[in-house]
Symmetry: C2
Subunit: 196 residues, 2 copies
DNA sequence: GTCTATATGAAGATAGAC
DNA sequence: GTCTATCTTCATATAGAC
C-alpha cells in the first residue's frame, strides 16, 4: 500500500479515514476480492472484523460508501504513478515510467486487481462516480500518449488487461514476485515497442 | 453462438437442454454479464423471461445449475476451437490457429468474456467443477504448447487477459468488429512472435 | 410449463442503550 | 465505538393447483 499521508491527495479521496474505518476498508477489500462486491454482505464484513453489523454501519452509512472508500484506497498508488508520469514529458519516456510503476503496483496489489478491473459493481462505480471518471480519463490519456488511432487504443486495452491478468492468473500463481515482475516488464516493453 | 448440434460434445455438456431451458440460460447469461452472478437473482431472471420464479425453478433445480449450464454453453465454441487445434500438430501452427479462433470467438461473445474470466462465482466453478477443470487444463496445455518456462507462462497469462480485455474495454467500445479483430490478431501475433 | 401461495432465512438498514 | 433488537425487503426454494 505504501501510503505515507493519510488519504487526501487532491484528485481522489473524500478525506482521511479513522482507524476503525481503515480496518473496515481492509476487511471489505479482502472479501470483495474473494466473493465480489455483490457476493459480500455487511454481515460478512462485520464477522471478519469481529463486530456486529451495527458497528460497521457506524463507520459507513451504506454499503456503497464502503465500496467507494475501498476503490479510492486502492487507486491511490496508481494516482501517484500517474502524477509522476504526467510530470515527465510526453512520449516513450513517460509511458515507460508509467508502465514500470503500474507493473509493480499491480504485483503489489495483485489480489485486488481483478476486482478493480472487472467487478460489475466497481466497474459501474468507476464509470459513474465523478472523481473516478476523471481519474480514469487521466489514466487513458497517459496510456495513449496523444495517439487515438485504433492501433493505439487496442494496444492500450490489451496491455491493461494483460498486466491485470498476468498478476492473477493461475498459470503464474507459483512464480516468484521478482521473476514475475521481470518477465512482465520485459514482455510489456516488447509489446509496446519500447527500448528494453 | 454458432452451435449446430443440441449440446453434448463429449467433453463438456451435461446434455441437451429444452427450448425453455435454453431461453432461461440466455436470459441468465445476459444478467450475469451485467450484474455478475451474485448480483443476479432468480427473480431478475424470471422477470427477464416474463414468467414467475417458480417457472424458472421448473427448468433448473437451483441457481447453481443455471450457472453451470450457462458456463457450459459459453465454453462450447472454445471447445470446438480447442479440438481443432489439438488435431493440428503442436507448435506455432496449432497455436496460430487456436489464437485466431479465440480472437474471433472472444469478439463474437465479447459481452460474456469478462464474466467468464473474472466473475468470482464462475472462476470458482471453473476451478472446482470436474468437467471444467479438465477443460481448462486442455486449454492451458494448448496455450503453452509444451513450454512451461516462466516466460511462456507469463506470456500465456498475459495474452489471455489481453484478448479478454481488448474485447470489453471502453477504450475500444466504438471500434468496428472487423477493425478490432484485425488489430487484435495482428498485435497478438506480434506479441507471440508468430509470422504475420 | 406456468401459476399462486408460502416457508425460511439473510440482506440492507435504523433506533436506542451502554 | 459497540451492542441488542428490530424493521423491511429480498433471497433461495418448495407445495400443489391449472
Amino acid at each position: 500500500m505504501t501510503r505515507a499521508r493519510p488519504s487526501t491527495p487532491a484528485g481522489l479521496g473524500s478525506g482521511p479515514y479513522s482507524e476503525a474505518q481503515e480496518r473496515t476498508i481492509a476487511a471489505a477489500l479482502d472479501l470483495f476480492v474473494e466473493h465480489g462486491v455483490s457476493g459480500t454482505s455487511l454481515q460478512m464484513i462485520a464477522d471478519a472484523l469481529g463486530v456486529t453489523k451495527a458497528a460497521v454501519y457506524h463507520q459507513f452509512n451504506t454499503k456503497e460508501e464502503i465500496v467507494v472508500a475501498a476503490v479510492e484506497c486502492e487507486l491511490l498508488g496508481l494516482e501517484a504513478a500517474l502524477d509522476a508520469a504526467e510530470v515527465a514529458e510526453r512520449g516513450p519516456r513517460a509511458l515507460d515510467l508509467l508502465m514500470a510503476q503500474v507493473v509493480h503496483l499491480a504485483i503489489e496489489q495483485h489480489r485486488m486487481v481483478g476486482a478493480l478491473q472487472h467487478d460489475p459493481v466497481i466497474v459501474r462505480l468507476l464509470a459513474e462516480h465523478r472523481p473516478f471518471q476523471e481519474f480514469m480519463q487521466r489514466l487513458y490519456r497517459a496510456l495513449l500518449g496523444g495517439d487515438a488511432s485504433p492501433e493505439a487504443r487496442v494496444r492500450a486495452a490489451m496491455i491493461s488487461g494483460a498486466i491485470g491478468s498476468a498478476v492473477t492468473h493461475p498459470l503464474v500463481a507459483d512464480l516468484d514476485a521478482d521473476v514475475l515482475a521481470d518477465q512482465l516488464i520485459r514482455q510489456t516493453r516488447r509489446f509496446l515497442d519500447l527500448p528494453g
